[in-house]
Symmetry: C2
């Protein structure tokens, strides 16, 4: 049903298609004035849908854009059950076809990531102010869970630096870990539980797109800030300082470093920085030559072993070196009795869980998506969120803290040839062996080596090249990046993130509030109309002004657009006066980029039409989008535009209106 | 400089126009593969600008879209000074040409609005829990100020119902007006001061567009809710209840009405509802027949006189009727010593001032704009805000509370033939006479008549027709309307407003987060490509898939768009498999409606290109907007698109790519 017949149908009070077509014929204006040029096309309304159908379509686009249930379509009931089972437990998708070749690859990569995960686990637990063994527990249970539930083949699961940092900062602001170690531990498990709950809920409610609001720009700034704070905090271990601030802002950390100068231990400094230099060097080798990635992957464990041996052998001569100390053998003890669901610190635990959960989710999903795109398979973001969330909820009941897919270890996993989630199982088994038999060996592992491992791991988060690219391409993105960087450095993690998200949302609103408008001109010899400023060969057409509106018309910009359009007209009329041009007779609004309109926008278009009519100017719309045409129709505005107010393209509008002028000189 | 030459220039490291043109010639690819069909046009970058120029342009679009200083351009210094003077004090623009004919009209309309303003002023002051005389003071000083500073010819200035309600509610939540009348009065003046400061600052900082975020939909719901609350509150006066709740939510108000049944006074009820019926009837007459508007305009004053006479004559028989009581003669006393700039209630005063200021500003600006559009003159929104703000700041120092342009009285003003701001001066003089000589006459004015006047005034704010139209045209707008309505009724004014603004902003974000995408097809016999769903005659082109993206590509939607585009491809490929169609070879993205892109968006486009290349699919962009082309250029993404990746229209892309396939079969 074309728009023109439709308007007639509305006018004559009939909604029936067949009838309206006849109505259209019977009310047609005399042909000599109406007859459109042969190439004229009608603007159509989109196919009619009920409110319920529209709502359903909208909801499916909001919550199921990737159509995750496509596999269920046109299948037998049995297949549907099998598919659902595979959907929930992806391990059953690949396990039946698992073979020896795959196992060989996975054992190699699993052992490699285990050699990274053990020293990193201990280090990150210290970063979160938790006992080192919690880091190992967290590298055992969660990877096993993920291997069953997760759909990524390359994600290496375990503690990560950002979530550890967030947890360490936010919890320590409320409860001192040194004064109330037991309460602190309870809060850490509780925060982990809420992080998992939050992650799983986001996935279940299919609100995964929420993490998109942490834009790349925000994350670049946030991670650089966090990396700097974390590295500076490691000066405690590298300099051998005993009494260090527990604050996380840059100023107290730096002043603590300087004030405690008398505690600096030269033995520690020499050894710490030597190992740090070695680790950084091997890291560079790994980056420069991807074939030598194993050098950087093996370096942490090698340094732990070497430094532990050094300290153990020369312990009488190195009395001041801080070490991890006695660690008990044994598997993860249950911790569900330590969860804390009431009392004054519950709010802190929930908030910490939400922030740590959101950030670790962002890392995990981004890593999963990156490798899926690289290896050309699909991960369902929302499904992954449920997997990571369940893994953390289970972790919180087995003495683990927040875990997710680690970017660095996943890259090593992929480099080492990992093929399936089996590499996570191999890693977990290696950690199991460590937990059961090797714990006493860490007794003399010095704190400085953990600090050096953390610095090496987080230094890669400072992505100054991306920041520079942001500056070059998009100043406002760079501004969001900078403010999350400075917010994290000088204020706190949640504030820095909130500011950056605020700026990102403001950017969207600014674009909508002050959209670009331009005057279009004809490109000679074509029916194409483009921005006169940009295409110098484009020519304005006498008696016409063609306005391109480059945004949806909303309450937030309708006043602006009206003022701006009237200003364009005023400027055009001034120009005509100065240059003896031909009088302006018609305003064409190119609505191609007006992808939506609301009631304020419709009111603006109607008012603009009235204002222009008073000035004897005709207003026509070219190529309104489907939803826009529909809303204009529902609000009865189309009637005021009448038969000749809507055109499919600017060119058709131009041709039709010019020819009607010629017909009625 | 065309894009193609530009790319070459970038590759060869040269930014100079002339040079790059020659470079372009020298690197051109052999003609047999390159030669475009004759109608092919290059995509251009917008004219190059420095960061500073861009910032300046952006800032001028954000803050000066209406180009308010146009009058200053190309004028002598003397004219500029005169113009500036006229700009600041619009009275000097019309006063020199003022004549007797205009005066006659203005006297008639001024007296008419005074007859409304006096009873309404007293009533609204009671609504704000202030002494009645404050309402008269507020109808004297502010209109005089506005006449000098304001640029609207029809705005009738004085207290209004919404701002009075907000003030009454928000202040009374903190301080009881019956227990601490003096502190309450101080807070009211302080809130008025801050309202003025806030309004003037918005105008001075040219942030006037902030009020646009209170969309029409929000205001419809808010005003209906406020009108219902206010009307129910008037049951106190109409039923003669003495002990009434001071809360403003619907539930306590209604339960107070029912609980105090024993206080209902039947004399009051009979008289109150009779007068209310008369007032409502005259209001209807005024609406039905615009020539009889004077009936409704005169009715309030007439009822006040009549009811006062009734009560005064029969006072011995009507002992229980509450009246205004003794009012002192005299002009506005100064109140600057009552402003309250420290102490525990300052925050309440500032918050009340901000909300009342914002709402009254919205009303004043909307009324001013409406009549300006009706009578074809311009008001500068930001200038008006400064005028209204200064008027309120001055008011707060002369015993006035928040005032603005009233919709109902301005309409009467225009109907009665008001021509200039002189009608405000006439009204103020009439109020002056009342204040000096007629105050004792109000002694026996009964409370029920004030209640009836308020009900009659606010009942018009319930615009159920607009609400119905919102439902018909835009469900989300209706939802915003409904939530501000329910929020005001059941929670509080600021919460209701905040929810509605939140929903409006969410609507913008939702549109950006989940933009519409569609598959386009060719309309036979043309170079036009339109949505296949909407235009049934449009035909898809074998081997091509043409995607229309209907939103800027941002961090908030880049993941969604990538998933959605890949799903379109998957569905298309499934269809081809089922129907033995020709293999897909090229994806054309119609970027016409992609009005902006950020770094996440660019990353998405690049990744999509890589993914498609792996599947041997070509990705080209048609008609990218200026800023988008520029950002793709700055991020070096255009290089990966190469010479044949950008086209001016879908049609040209189609023609060029098809012909290149024919050339290399």
């Amino acid at each position: 049903m074309s728009f023109r017949t439709n308007i007639n149908a509305v006018v004559s009070g009939s909604g029936n298609d067949a009838e309206s077509e006849t109505t259209a014929v019977s009310v047609t204006v005399p042909p000599e004035t109406m007859a459109p040029p042969p190439e004229l096309h009608d603007v159509r309304l989109p196919p009619q849908k009920t409110t319920f159908q529209k709502l359903r379509h909208k909801l499916s686009e909001v919550f199921f854009p990737d159509d995750p249930l496509q596999g269920f379509k046109n299948e037998t009931r049995f297949n549907k059950i099998v598919f659902a089972f595979h959907f929930i437990f992806p391990i059953f998708r690949w396990a039946p076809n698992y073979n020896f070749t795959l196992l060989r690859s996975d054992v190699v990569s699993g052992l490699t990531i285990a050699s990274l995960a053990i020293p990193q686990g201990i280090s990150y637990a210290k970063l979160a102010n938790l006992p080192p063994v919690i880091g190992l527990y967290s590298s055992f249970v969660p990877p096993l869970k993920y291997a069953v539930l997760g759909s990524s083949k390359h994600l290496a699961v375990g503690p990560v630096s950002i979530a550890s940092l967030v947890m360490g900062t936010m919890l320590n602001d409320a409860v001192s870990y040194s004064q109330h170690p037991n309460l602190y531990l309870k809060l850490a498990f509780t925060a982990t539980f809420f992080a998992g709950l939050f992650q799983a809920s986001l996935g279940l409610l299919r609100l995964g797109f929420m993490i998109d609001f942490l834009s790349k720009a925000t994350l670049v700034g946030f991670m650089a800030g966090a990396a700097i704070i974390v590295s500076l905090q490691q000066l405690k271990g590298l300099l051998g300082i005993v009494n260090f601030t527990s604050k996380m802002q840059i100023i107290p950390v730096l002043s603590s470093v300087i004030e405690q100068r008398d505690e600096w231990s030269w033995h520690t400094i020499v050894m710490g920085f030597s190992f740090l230099a070695c680790l950084l060097a091997t890291r560079q080798i790994g980056i420069r030559n991807r074939k030598l990635f194993w050098v950087s992957a093996a370096a942490p464990l090698a340094s732990v072993i070497l430094s532990t041996l050094l300290v153990a052998l020369f312990k009488s001569k190195l009395p001041n070196i801080a070490t991890i100390g006695q660690l008990d053998k044994g598997l993860n003890p249950p911790s569900s009795n330590m969860l804390y669901f009431h009392g004054e610190f519950l709010a802190v635990a929930v908030k910490t869980g939400a922030v740590a959960g959101l950030l670790s989710l962002t890392e995990g999903i981004a890593v999963g998506r990156t490798f899926a795109a690289l290896k050309n398979y699909q991960v369902d973001g929302n499904k992954e969120m449920i997997a990571i969330g369940l893994m953390n909820m289970a972790g919180s009941c087995s003495s683990c803290y927040v875990t997710t897919g680690s970017f660095s270890r996943s890259a090593v996993n992929e480099n080492a040839g990992g093929q399936t989630a089996m590499s996570n199982i191999i890693m977990a088994l290696t950690v199991l062996v460590t937990l059961l038999f090797l714990m006493p060996l860490f007794r003399y592992t010095p704190d400085f080596i953990l600090a050096a491992i953390i610095v090496t791991a987080v230094i890669g988060l400072i992505d100054y090249q991306s920041a520079f690219r942001l500056w070059k391409v998009d100043k406002l993105d760079f501004f969001a990046c900078l403010s999350s960087f400075l917010g994290v450095l000088f204020v706190s993690v949640p504030v820095g993130l909130a500011i950056a998200v605020g700026i990102s949302v403001f950017k969207i609103l600014l674009h909508v509030t002050r959209p670009n408008t331009s005057i279009l001109g004809n490109i000679p010899g074509t029916q194409i109309y483009r921005d006169l400023d940009r295409y110098k060969e484009a020519q304005s057409v006498p008696s016409f002004i063609i306005l391109g509106i480059e945004a949806p018309i909303y309450f937030a910009n309708s006043t602006y657009l009206q003022e701006r359009i009237l200003r364009w007209l005023r400027e055009e009329e001034d120009w005509i006066l100065d240059n003896n041009g031909s009088t302006l007779k018609c305003v064409i609004m190119d609505m191609t980029a007006v992808t939506a309109i609301d009631t304020s926008g419709i009111a603006m278009v109607n008012e603009l039409k009235k204002i222009l009519e008073k000035r004897s100017l005709q207003l026509v719309l070219a190529n309104p989008a489907g939803s826009v045409t529909e809303k204009l129709h529902h609000s009865n505005s189309l009637e005021s535009f009448g038969l000749n107010g809507l055109y499919l393209t600017v060119g058709e509008a131009m041709a039709d209106i010019s020819s009607s002028w010629k017909a009625q000189p």
